[in-house]
């Protein structure tokens, strides 16, 4: 399962996408994210399974997706 990793440098800053990783479950994803991306000083760090990300729209794929 692929997880996307987000973090920010300080409180109030927008979350920034910093990479992704492979993990079998969210528990290991959190451990792997910490061990892989802890080189810098982050204020916080988050992981989310890629399959849980919902696309709103992508400009070059045509019209924005309108709410049903």
């Amino acid at each position: 399962m692929i997880f996307e990793v987000f973090a920010r440098k300080s409180r109030g800053e927008p979350l920034r996408h910093i990479g992704n990783l492979n993990a079998p479950d969210p528990e290991l994803a959190r451990v792997y994210a910490f061990n892989t991306y802890d080189e810098e000083r982050w204020f916080d760090m988050w992981v989310v399974a890629r399959e849980h990300l919902q696309e709103v729209f992508t400009v070059d794929r045509g019209e924005p997706v309108a709410a049903e």
Partner: protein, 276 residues
């Protein structure tokens, strides 16, 4: 018995003028070495799986954990710098002088064995460190918080893999159970005897519990994992078998790290490159 905090203060004030006996009480030195040697060996065992672990990410995690453990070992050995030759401690000792948890003597044979080191052995060390949060021996107490913060992720990594193997196939569950059984007895012994050095450390306020109490805390902490492999009731309140127990080395049955391990952790082959 000397008061360790007081004697440590004296050591600070009169650097170099202290014998080992005066500077750091013998039982505190025993404790520091038991922790430092276990950390050094554990770090080496983690490093052995940086390549060849089931996933790239778990290898990365193990390399990070190995760094943590060696860092912890380093700072623990350094606590003895005023009273002992730390270089000799790190690079000059024979196998029978090491005080590591006995299961760290040889490389782990399987991935499940490595998971047992993370989920059980490393956690046992953390239980011992946790019992030093209010230690009368200040140099150790000061270093505990940061160390335990790093250990949180070691425990999470170990527990996640333990559960994964325990709930995977029949074969992975059997392997995890066997690996847990391999480490439990030596780990429970490593906490020591209430009537021995461990009990003295508790009496002096160095450790905030006697060995039997630390064993209980450890078993409480890992009971969900033991339950996952059907071992919850295998280890009760009664003490492990202490026949032939060596107080200083915290083990029964003698033995020590194997020759190749000693050569690697002492850095024997690299000594020739030291230019100082």
């Amino acid at each position: 018995m000397t008061t360790n905090a007081k004697s440590a203060e004296t050591a600070k004030g009169a650097k170099g003028a202290q014998s080992a006996k005066d500077g750091v009480a013998a039982e505190v030195r025993d404790l520091i070495l038991a922790l430092a040697d276990s950390k050094r060996l554990l770090g080496y065992r983690y490093a052995e799986w940086m390549l060849g672990a089931p996933e790239l990410e778990t290898g990365i995690a193990l390399s990070s954990m190995a760094q943590d453990e060696w860092g912890h070992a380093r700072l623990l050995y350094a606590l003895l710098k005023d009273v002992e030759d730390v270089d000799a401690l790190e690079h000059g000792r024979k196998p029978m002088e090491y005080r590591n948890v006995a299961v760290l003597d040889e490389p782990t044979g399987s991935w499940a064995d490595t998971v047992a080191l993370m989920a059980l052995v490393d956690v046992a060390l953390s239980v011992q460190f946790d019992a030093l949060r209010s230690s009368s021996y200040e140099p150790l107490r000061q270093r505990v918080e940061k160390l335990l913060e790093e250990e949180r992720f070691h425990a999470a990594h170990g527990a996640a893999w333990f559960r994964r193997l325990a709930t995977g196939t029949d074969a992975s569950r059997a392997a995890m159970r066997q690996a847990a059984e391999r480490v439990m007895e030596p780990v429970l012994q490593w906490f020591g005897r209430d009537e021995g050095v461990g009990g003295a450390l508790a009496e002096d306020g160095v450790v905030n519990g006697a060995p039997s109490s630390l064993r209980k805390r450890f078993l409480e902490r890992v009971s969900p994992l033991l339950e996952a492999v059907g071992l919850r009731d295998a280890y009760g309140d009664e003490s492990p078998d202490f026949a032939g127990f060596d107080e200083g080395r915290r083990r029964t049955g003698g033995g020590g790290p194997d020759a190749s391990t000693i050569e690697r952790i002492r850095g024997d082959r690299n000594r020739a490159f030291l230019m100082d």
